[in-house]
């Protein structure tokens, strides 16, 4: 089947670019001798997670327990859940999961550690636990410094929990375009994590894992040193805005846009405007509008849940009724979460369909 014959809107992976992205991250991590545990929140697909493991990943990250359940059911056996798991129902599910795979979880609270310890004891399960440190995002995590040592102590007090190390992730700096600025931001975050690790070590706790980093920071994280595991996610697809970020020495970022929303022109209400079938339910808006491909002078604006507008601002719109268009998602993670399948294309043809099995798994 030809890609042009697909009904739209549809989510397309360009296989060539996708494979290059996957291989490049594998090479970057391998040549630095650092473990890569890619974040599956970006793709939510056990098939893709399996490919990541085959190209050198030590395991995967999941943002939610529900994602991890889908991954384990599909045979992925080593997962770090990067968000705190809180509440009785979830702890029961977590322990059930930890009976069939190696599961790590992050904590930032003594009460949560006690809950985890009781649940693990009841289930007869041993669980890997990392302390999350707030390295600047002001979200979850303990403040940098001595607090993490107190939690490490609490974890060690339970024979059912195993203290593995620290997580420090700063999402807000991944897309800083200027390299020197981003480098400094990454260094500031990393320093907070390393300083905290020093506190924890001095309190007598071995640290096996220091995990963090994202697509925008990996090269800097590696150059600065300190992390033992990287957790990038977006590199497989690349959000529209990632294209603007500089790599070292003003080089271009070594990953390519590999994810596209395909749409169709469904109305031509004016000479310089086309209405397409891509609205808020077909491309996420939290990162801004998606970016049209191959249409110089065109700008995209959402025009409702089911409509998007392509404006050519006074110049004639070259798109006939029924014409197909491509958009680069402004934010891949939330766009992927709208679809049940990736269509995998190579050149002009559809090569495969991959299920986004963990779509909607927010619990």
């Amino acid at each position: 089947m030809r890609i042009d014959d697909l009904d739209t809107p549809v989510l397309l992976i360009e296989a060539d670019a996708f494979e290059r992205n996957m291989a490049r991250m594998g090479e970057i991590a391998a040549s630095a001798g650092i473990a890569c545990r890619p974040h599956a929140k970006a793709h939510k697909s056990p098939l893709v997670a399996g490919m990541q493991k085959k190209t050198g990943a030590v395991g995967i990250c999941c943002a939610k327990l529900g994602e991890a359940e889908v991954m384990v059911a599909a045979g992925i056996d080593d997962i770090l859940i990067t968000t705190e798991v809180v509440g009785r129902g979830k702890l029961l599910r977590l322990m059930a999961l930890a009976q069939s795979a190696r599961i790590g979880v992050v904590v930032d609270n003594e009460e949560n550690i006690d809950e985890l310890a009781r649940a693990a004891q009841t289930a007869g399960v041993r669980l890997d636990v990392l302390v999350e440190v707030d390295v600047g995002q002001r979200r979850c995590g303990v403040a940098p410094g001595a607090a993490a040592a107190v939690l490490a102590e609490r974890i060690r007090d339970s024979r059912w929990l195993r203290f593995r190390g620290l997580q420090g992730y700063q999402g807000a700096i991944q897309m800083t375009a200027d390299y020197a600025t981003r480098r400094q931001q990454v260094k500031d975050a990393l320093d907070k994590l390393l300083e905290t690790a020093e506190h924890v070590r001095k309190a007598g706790h071995a640290i096996e894992v220091l995990t963090g980093g994202g697509t925008g920071s990996v090269a800097i994280d590696i150059a600065l040193g300190g992390l033992t595991e990287l957790q990038p996610g977006s590199y497989l697809f690349m959000d529209a805005k990632y294209a603007a970020i500089e790599w070292e020495n003003r080089a271009h970022v070594p990953f390519e846009n590999a994810l596209f929303v395909l749409g169709t022109v469904i109305s031509r209400p004016a000479y310089d405007r086309a209405i397409v079938d891509v609205g808020l339910k077909a491309a996420s808006s939290d990162g801004g509008p998606p970016m049209p491909v191959g249409l110089p002078g065109a700008s995209f604006a959402f025009a409702g849940d089911e409509h998007g507008q392509l404006s050519f601002d006074g110049k004639p719109c070259p798109l006939a009724l029924g014409a197909k268009i491509r958009l680069i998602p402004s934010h891949c993670d939330t766009t992927v979460n709208l679809y049940d399948h990736f269509i995998v294309g190579r050149g002009e043809h559809v090569e495969d369909v991959w299920e986004i099995a963990a779509r909607g798994r927010v619990q």
Copy 2:
């Protein structure tokens, strides 16, 4: 099961408010003697569509062919697809659907009418067709005036298509808070539709259906007169912003918030802040942040795909780790589209679970 024992994030319908909303819209339409064809894009659930038909709806609207396919498969037999259907693959699906239900579709383009006529003839199917008029939204639709008569003529030229009337919908004015301003906006849009209808009638085409209107405009549409069918959707749930709109004589809008996202506090990083498990994948952001319920002084901000922040701005946060919170979605349609199920609650208990079977049906 108690609602408080649910894993979160979860999408909750409060059954009492939901039933009152459904009954009220039924009464409003019935007492005005106007047909109501509610828009199923808001709920995407055949179960809810069935309830709407039982409470007086003449049929339903769908935004997308894929939604209509799910509805017909579940036994809904009279559907207007309110968005233009373009492209060969879609036309084949449309004709297949029209063989097992009464399907209407809107057009704004001669070429599309010719495509529809050929596809209907090939399939041996008769199809209801309405001309969409742009009554101010600047999206799809022909300009008000004579253009619609040309399309009606073209529709009549095919014995496989049946010209039914006109659609004119103005989404942008539904949430204008001030009643007098909204009334004038609704009148302006309605005048354009009625003026166009006059052109079409003068050209010799009977108009059986004039459809339009939304939750914010129905009472005004009824008072002004002219429409034969209403297509409101949001009244079942009510977006957070709808609460601010005035009804006639400064009365409160007669529909209640009946849809909530439930979340859990997963981190307490500061005395005046809590992090909850509701992020961009659990509540849509296109209408702004969702609104916390029963937490005076709290403001919600998205903190990533999986995190939300509740700030109390210098005052102590009363929420303990594990506490459950409720949020009113800023935009129900796009929030519903993130979930596979509604949890239906009455009082403190879970009463039912309804599948959102058309979730993700963007094609």
